[in-house]
Amino acid sequence: MAALFISAENQIQRLNFLMEKIGSLQSLPIDMLTSAPNTQAWSILEIIEHLNIAYGHYVDKVSDALNRAKPIENDKEPFKARIWQGFIINGQRPKGQTRKWKMKTMKRFEPEAIDTTHGKDHLGPTFEQFQHLHGHLKEAILMGRHKNLRHMKIPSAIGSIVNFYLPEAFEFILCHAERHLVQIEETKEILSKKEL
């Protein structure tokens, strides 16, 4: 398997795209945001909630590791992910518009039922929280450009069975979100066809 090289600039570009894309979903009709394509699937809003829950597990760990990391002066070369971590990251990464290896979500990452009886304005906090949390991720990636992250290790959200160096963690979180962005596009398409 080819080595996975990770660069902060690449992550920032993708994260900007992701944040813009999720932000633009807010203009969709409420039915499109809150309807699930089938009883087993999530609605778009639930997918965004899931992303908020997932990154919520990393916020303190990322902040703490960044605070401990030492500043560096020199230009950084791309970070080479370790083999096992690279494998896990690439397992999340969507291939084009396809999600590989669909998996069951652990209970603690499942979104809670969203009250939709108060109209669309009531859904705003989910989007705001997404922008807030992923704004934190972006700040962390930007700060990390000026710090030595080579030895800053954090446990993944599923526990210390998988640990990441910070650049690996950022990449995993991004790939996970990109995977769900594909799911959102699939959901939009299915719901649009149902309307027809």
Binding site: F5, S7, E9, I12, Q13, L142
Partner: protein
Amino acid sequence: MNDDAFEQLCSFFSEIPFTDAQKVGFRALWSTTEVPKGTLITEAGKIERYFYFVLEGVQVLYILDQKGEKVVLGFSYAGGPSGVFDSFIAQQASPTFLEALKPSKLLKINLDAYQSLFEQFPEFHKWGHHFFREVLFGRLFREVEILTMSAEERYIAFMQRCPDALKVIPQKYLASYLNMKPETFSRLRSSTTY
């Protein structure tokens, strides 16, 4: 902005015959920003909000290739303009990054203020014509260099016109700009006179 900075800015817009009163209004449209080395002044995926004039420092404009590696498109430095012009004018997400390679001091103007200059001063159309002609000719010249010259010829042509400010930035950026490997750039630097 101090008087010296304003004088530098006015000399960049030397075609515009400002009256003293107009100069006051023109000056008020600009603000100063200072960024440390390594700052991403403009990020790919975001809309460029400003047109910049460089007072100090060197900035690099680059795009990421499919492997995520930086491909340098150009540099900006003291006395000249900076920014991602296509994103600024079209107000569309920038495909490129603008990064400070040295601590940088810049004057900036937003799009509304920039456009108001063309409405207030007809001479700005002449300035705009000259400016974008220079940008276009520069890009065409570079395209010809990249497509027709050998690495050594590109190196010599670049070093002959290269301002001193660019000679102190990391070689990998110059090498990328010249579409060659850093090792090739290093070899040419030690073996070629220009």
